[in-house]
């Protein structure tokens, strides 16, 4: 699964720690999602989408291998 989390974060001028705080996870988790090492649950994906006021599909997209 690909994601545009880093781009969205830059557009909203949020640091990893600030974003982590807003949705109640650790900074490491945000970092792991951005680098593709961790795939978030539907709940976490929805929370992230809500922070950026975008649809989940806008931030997370399936890859060929998924």
């Amino acid at each position: 699964m690909k994601n545009r989390l880093k781009v969205e974060r830059a557009e909203h001028n949020l640091s990893q720690a600030e974003l982590a705080d807003r949705i109640g996870v650790s900074r490491q988790t945000i970092n792991s999602i951005e680098t593709g090492r961790y795939v978030p649950s539907a709940i976490l994906a929805l929370k992230l989408a809500r922070v950026f006021n975008k649809a989940v599909e806008h931030i997370f997209t399936l890859e060929e291998t998924d």
């Binding site: 109640g24 650790s26 490491q28 988790t29 792991s32 090492r37 978030p40």
Partner: protein, 157 residues
């Protein structure tokens, strides 16, 4: 995220404070025959009668509870260390926890299988004693390692 079956974060420290003295007590009881006097349970003591030929000997087998206390302490301490909430307990930590738990169960039984094939008699009894605690011990080491590695990758980026 809601996480079930975990202790509050501060219990991690309590776990260590129970585990370390219990381990020292357990090792002392096992290898140096160390006993705490007031832990002798007289109400559990049995009298043994040994008959050999014409002589009859009466012995009191005092039930010493030092090793019981040590073992329970080690188990309680390890459980608290293993299953206390992280400062930020989120779903990724939960996943690392599960992965570490599965890994430690595999590792534990592989080691036990090797011990079954290579260690016999009295020595195997020692294996069984250690094996009571190794699942939790291996889990704690593996879980800490996964978290350390996760943070380390973060710093390297």
């Amino acid at each position: 995220m809601k996480t079930k079956w975990l202790f509050p974060n501060r219990f991690w420290l309590i776990g260590w404070l129970v585990f370390v003295p219990s381990t020292i007590l357990g090792l002392a009881a096992m290898y140096a025959d160390f006993k705490i006097g007031w832990l002798t349970a007289h109400w559990l003591s049995e009298s043994i009668t040994i008959t050999s030929g014409n002589s009859i000997t009466h012995l009191m087998d005092n039930q010493d509870l030092t090793d019981e206390v040590a073992a329970i302490g080690i188990i309680a301490g390890l459980l608290l260390i293993a299953f206390s909430r992280e400062k930020v307990e989120d779903e990724m930590i939960g996943q690392l926890r599960l992965e570490a738990l599965q890994w430690s169960v595999y590792a534990n039984y592989i080691i036990l299988a090797i011990a079954i094939l290579t260690v016999y008699d009295d020595a195997f009894f020692n294996v069984m004693i250690y094996n009571m605690f190794t699942v939790l011990l291996v889990f704690i080491i593996r879980f800490r390692w996964l978290i350390y590695r996760n943070n380390h990758i973060l710093l390297a980026l």
